[in-house]
């Protein structure tokens, strides 16, 4: 796979993906805007706690978190996925200055995964209450259960 703006590229099920480093992330997104990817439709993250040795293109260092950014070019009718590897506690640059619409999506990622964004204007929780403990979509955050007592069951 050839490099795109100095970043390693890959594909999954025919969908183009690019793997920047944290240092190149913001400049890559800016260069992609110049290439026509003017719309940032989606920002999400994946916690790969259970899969540190997952398959990634050669040269991409696998880290615990992966920030997944979906870009769209309206003129070219194409999509591009940016996947950024992040360690626990490592912060990512915010895309707010390039794509103001990512404001709420980055807040959601922060809320659900605890990934912080440098330069984000209002990094607060968005879905969970302010005093909530922990970040629910992390893999070390257990799914809650409700104890159920069945009638006639021996305790």
């Amino acid at each position: 796979m050839e490099a795109l703006h100095g970043c390693i590229t890959g594909e999954s099920r025919g969908q183009a993906t690019v793997f920047p480093t944290v240092a190149h992330y913001l400049s890559l997104v800016k260069q992609l805007v110049a290439d026509g990817y003017t719309m940032c439709v989606d920002v999400t993250a994946v916690d790969y706690l259970a899969h540190p040795d997952r398959s990634l293109p050669l040269g991409v260092e696998s880290k615990r978190f992966e920030l997944v950014v979906g870009l769209l070019s309206i003129e070219r009718r194409q999509r591009m996925r940016v996947r950024l590897q992040l360690d626990d506690g490592e912060s990512a640059p915010s895309l707010f200055d390039v794509h103001p619409g990512t404001e709420a999506m980055e807040r959601e990622v922060f809320d659900m995964f605890g990934i912080e964004f440098d330069g984000h204007p209002d990094l607060t929780r968005i879905l969970m209450p302010e005093d909530w403990d922990g970040h629910p979509l992390r893999k070390d955050y257990a799914v809650g259960t409700i104890p159920v007592q069945f009638k006639e069951a021996r305790s």
Binding site: S55, P121, L123, G134, V143
Partner: protein
């Protein structure tokens, strides 16, 4: 119960702060964040415009129980008299962790989960989830023709029912109360057809990975034709009742204006983006199913105001009916689900006579089927805009991560921009014209 080791979070409040609590720089940042523009752009705004003295403004809550917020949306509005200076939507009241739940459910059970997100267009949610799973399985090209056309039929009828509901709520919010009754009445006709096909009015879990759950019932063609014949003249009644009416136009025209550049910057999709004149419709621009084989027009507006968004939705109902008529002509026979033993349970009749079929049936519904490792993002055009599904599989029978890009969640972030400088009474019209579904916003 919780094995969480993450540190205590210490982030600030989500609420809109009063002016006197903020320093000049903080205010600028907040105006920037609330208006979704960079700090530099916020600084370029005339400061006297955004900074009237603190005692003349007040912050009020609209919602979460306000009837015109379509659910549990809370807006914090800073008002000066009747004028909205700042606005911040506060969401999360319906958050039930559906993405986390999705990681616990098998791919076959996943449909029951995603269908509850956007409860006004459940079939589109199921469709995007199924398309993503099929792409991961590598069977996206092998779905039987009848299943594909059935999916299109249901998706378009769902678009109609969703837009009819918009007609009802939009009318109600603006005082056209009879429109509310009419919109619900027509939607009920569509829902009744869904009930006949899927067995349920909402939350169908009908479109599943590999096809659909059952074949169309006998007499479905007459039902659909009856539906189309019934709704067509009623849309003309809507035109008489609202579109040409001066009061209606006064309430909507020039209210909640957004430009194409702003809509793209804020990643707004669907009728909001099209109202600004950008002809972007995934059904035409990145076709899925067989949308490239049917004829329809992408409706665009020119002013980006609430009236355009109303008119676009009204015309999209007509375009959907046009597509549905073409689907009726072209509906092929054959299987309604893929005959791949891996993803399809055996027919009910086989279970009574074959031990292997019984075991197979049991295993597919308890363990589910395994999906090859990989990740995929699939997007379709829901009535509200681009709904996307990002699934990461690690080779097991449940998704490792299931994320839904909800159009309402993103579209609702355009509210502060549309409302700024407008009247409080117009805020209701603006919320209504975005048509958010809070179940999808909060997931």
């Amino acid at each position: 119960m919780r094995t969480d080791t993450t540190r205590q979070t210490d982030e600030g409040g989500q609420e809109l702060k009063a002016r006197h609590e903020l320093g000049a720089r903080e205010l600028l940042r907040e105006v920037g964040s609330v208006l979704r523009m960079s700090e530099a752009e916020a600084a370029a705004l005339a400061l006297d415009e955004i900074d009237p003295s603190a005692d003349e403004t007040m912050i009020i809550n609209m919602g979460p129980q306000h009837p015109s917020t379509h659910g549990v949306l809370r807006l914090m509005l800073e008002l000066q008299g009747e004028t909205v200076l700042r606005c911040k939507p506060i969401v999360g009241y319906l958050h039930t962790g559906m993405e986390k739940t999705g990681e616990q459910l098998t791919y076959l059970q996943g449909g029951t989960n995603v269908t509850r997100m956007d409860y006004v267009s459940p079939l589109n949610n199921e469709l995007v989830f199924s398309l993503a799973v099929e792409k991961l399985l590598g069977i996206d090209g092998d779905i039987p023709e009848r299943a594909v056309w059935m999916r299109m039929l249901l998706s378009e009828l769902n678009r109609m029912s969703s837009h009819l509901l918009f007609m009802a709520t939009n009318g109600m919010d603006l005082g056209a109360v009879s429109m509310m009754i009419y919109g619900w009445r027509e939607r009920e006709e569509v829902i009744r057809f869904f009930q006949k096909v899927t067995g349920l009015r909402m939350n169908h879990n009908f479109i599943r990975p590999g096809g659909v759950a059952a074949d169309l019932p006998s007499g479905w063609r007459d039902d659909v034709l009856g539906l189309l014949d019934q709704i067509t003249p009623r849309l003309d009644e809507y035109d008489t009742l609202m579109t040409g009416q001066p009061i209606w136009r006064d309430r909507l025209q020039g209210v909640g204006v957004i430009t194409a550049q702003e809509a793209i910057a804020l990643a707004a999709t669907g009728p909001i983006l099209r109202s600004t004149g950008v002809p972007w419709d995934l059904r035409r621009d990145q076709p899925y199913l067989h949308y490239d084989e049917v004829e329809f027009d992408v409706i665009v507006g020119s002013y980006g105001d609430s009236f355009d968004r109303y008119a676009i939705r009204l015309h999209e109902i007509r375009e959907s009916m046009r597509i549905v008529r073409q689907i009726l002509d072209r509906m092929p026979g054959g299987d309604y689900r893929i005959q791949d033993k891996k993803v399809t349970p055996p027919p009910r009749a086989r279970i009574n006579e074959s031990m292997e079929a019984l075991i197979h049936h049991f295993k597919i519904f308890t363990e589910g089927f395994k999906v090859p490792a990989g990740e995929v993002y699939v997007a379709i055009e829901s009535p509200r805009g681009e709904i996307g599904c990002y699934i990461v599989s690690d080779g097991s029978s449940t998704p490792y991560r299931m994320h839904v890009r909800a159009p309402s969640f993103v579209n609702i972030q355009t509210l502060p921009h549309m409302m700024r400088g407008g009247l409080l009474a117009d805020a209701v019209a603006v919320i209504s014209s975005v048509d958010p579904v809070l179940g999808e916003v909060d997931r």
